[in-house]
Symmetry: C2
């Protein structure tokens, strides 16, 4: 509750990182930005005063300011030591998707540096890393907030945590967790109206619009969804050993799975994808015959400890079927909420909304550390 200064280190200046820095510049009571690291460069407020701070608004030009220190890439250990030595509590915001940095979270946390991040890698890898992260946070009296690892800025993890912490019994979690796959299926098989577009054409369109990863197979293999399910299932109390320790239906045709991940491999994949349009057309027609539409969903049956990711058919009047654009939807079925789930829905990807989740987490950590 006191107004002691809090020191902030930020790693990553990609889409989310840039959006975050522009939000940070306008946050009330923002902590002091004293470290900003990109792939090969690090900008630092000079020790021992950790002052002047880096201006979040125009960090790019600040790199030229003589009052700040510049260094090459620092190791996670060096960043942790720098932040932990600040004359007050410190927070690391990791805006990368780097598993190696995530593996070092325990180093930061044990030194008392809190973590705020949209990087889902660390929370969805080996269960041992998950346990290490939270044990280290307890040891260092540091906090870990990672709302944006699932559903971007949507209140998904905070809602699940509140349900669990107040003693509700979460029985099932189900939803569309990938903005990319949401767009693909909402376009390919809309619940109202109809579409004659072939599957490969929809994938090509999404790639064109920048809705897919540079290699669309990184969306189609289902691993992004599986990692999000891993995080939710662990928060619901299930000990998921790995993000691939449950059934994941890949939308990459088996015949194309071995194409290289090079630019040439991506081109080959896109060129050969039309050969498999008939398969997806059959899936769509089968759903249609039942008056349903096909969607790519993840689900967690908590009692049965069953997690799965893949295609499923839904009645056209359900919320999942009626999803628009690249929206996510997450339904929590619980004992208290009864037959009708608690539902959260909206954009689940994009720099601004992902950064919003990071900024909101940061404000909560600052409130708790002050």
């Amino acid at each position: 509750m006191s107004a002691s200064p809090i020191y902030l280190g930020v790693v990553g200046v990609g889409g989310v990182g840039t959006a975050f820095l522009s939000q940070l510049a306008r946050l009330p009571n923002a902590p002091k930005l004293v470290l900003l690291a990109r792939s090969s460069q690090t900008l630092l407020a000079p020790t021992p005063a950790y002052s002047p701070a880096i201006p979040a608004a125009d960090w790019a030009t600040a790199a030229a300011a003589p009052s700040l220190n510049k260094a090459g890439a620092l190791s996670a250990e060096e960043i942790a030591t720098y932040l932990a030595s600040a004359p007050g509590r410190a927070i690391l915001v990791d805006n990368t998707s780097d598993i190696n940095l995530a593996r070092q979270y325990p180093t930061f946390l044990k030194k008392g540096v809190s973590i705020v991040t949209p990087n889902k890698k660390g929370f969805s890898d080996d269960l041992s890393l998950w346990k290490d992260i939270f044990a280290s946070a307890a040891e260092g009296k540091a906090l870990v907030y990672h709302e944006s690892t699932v559903g971007a800025g949507l209140p998904v993890l905070s809602t699940l945590k509140d349900l669990v912490a107040t003693g509700d019994e979460v029985t099932r979690i189900e939803g569309v967790f990938s903005g990319t796959l949401s767009f693909l299926f909402n376009t390919f098989a809309p619940a109202s109206g109809s579409s004659s577009a072939q599957w490969s054409a929809v994938v090509a369109q999404a790639k064109e619009l920048g809705y897919t990863e540079p290699d669309p197979r990184d969306d189609l293999n289902g691993m992004d969804v599986a990692r999000k399910l891993t995080i939710l299932a662990r928060l619901a109390g299930l000990e998921i050993s790995r993000p691939d320790s449950f059934p994941i239906e890949s939308l990459i045709p088996a015949e194309l799975a071995s194409l290289p991940s090079s630019a040439d491999g991506i081109t080959q994949f896109m060129n050969r994808l039309p050969d498999f349009d008939a398969e997806m057309a059959t899936v769509k027609a089968t759903a249609e015959k039942q008056g349903k539409v096909v969607r790519y969903v993840g689900s967690i049956d908590v009692a049965a400890k069953a997690v799965k990711v893949g295609l499923q058919y839904f009645d056209k009047d359900t919320a999942i079927a009626g999803l628009k654009g690249s929206d996510n939807i997450i339904s929590f079925y619980t004992k208290r909420y009864g037959a009708n789930p608690l539902i959260v829905q909206g954009a689940g990807a994009g720099g601004d909304v992902t950064a919003m989740g990071v900024s909101a987490d940061l404000l909560k950590v600052v409130e708790r550390l002050r």
Copy 2:
């Protein structure tokens, strides 16, 4: 972050209050319950040690324990003084719907006692009280959490606060905010299938099921929805002077508005309501002719500073039209979220889910005070 004890006073043991106490008994790191007040009785941990605490699990039998102090009804001032004198930070949980207690929140807050409550009265009354509450909280370095004043345990206020605090521009908020009115219209004019039930029969059924207030006019007059809209609009930055300072469409026929609020008046109201079934049937048929359904909604147009509560027609494939049971739905339209709103949906009334919002708030206040 330290583990200093926190002291808790609870007022109200009705439906929400009872559910809250049973959740409190199972909360991890719960604060010490040192005061429990009901209409005419108060149970207190003896001063100056504020120990032993009152067992939340079986508070009813604890009233007989010789180790606790019993008193009659205490004034808000006395309760505030008792809590503020505890040897640590203190929190008042107000589980009543009493405007008089709410008017005393500034007294508690100035003394450093934080407030957690589902009581919407204080936050939706005169704007001067709203301002006094938050100024007093700042003065006393105390916290105010009131998630359950809108949408019960659904993450509505926390989501709106995060949007605003991180710099998003909220343009419009729209939704169904009353579980009672949700049930009435979902039953009277379902989006899928059809119903031949008369309006008065649906109201009688809802009253029978306990879904309405004892006097259904307390739901039908729209004031409950207007109070929730007042709170949301204020959090979105609008200076709403009073909960009746904007258009509210009452569903009480003008001819029945002057019936007394006595038991006899309620009976007369229910007996004469069928005389107005034709009016509601016309509303329903008019919507139907446009392929729509009628719903009772509240909306806030932030830019136009326009708040209104009343009947509106919706396409049958919209989320509002498809609502089930007595669910609430709240849509936030913002600059960052673009064309598709951020939506929160689920049960918005009931002792357990309302108490869940209170318990979750309490945990957050405890985390910040420790």
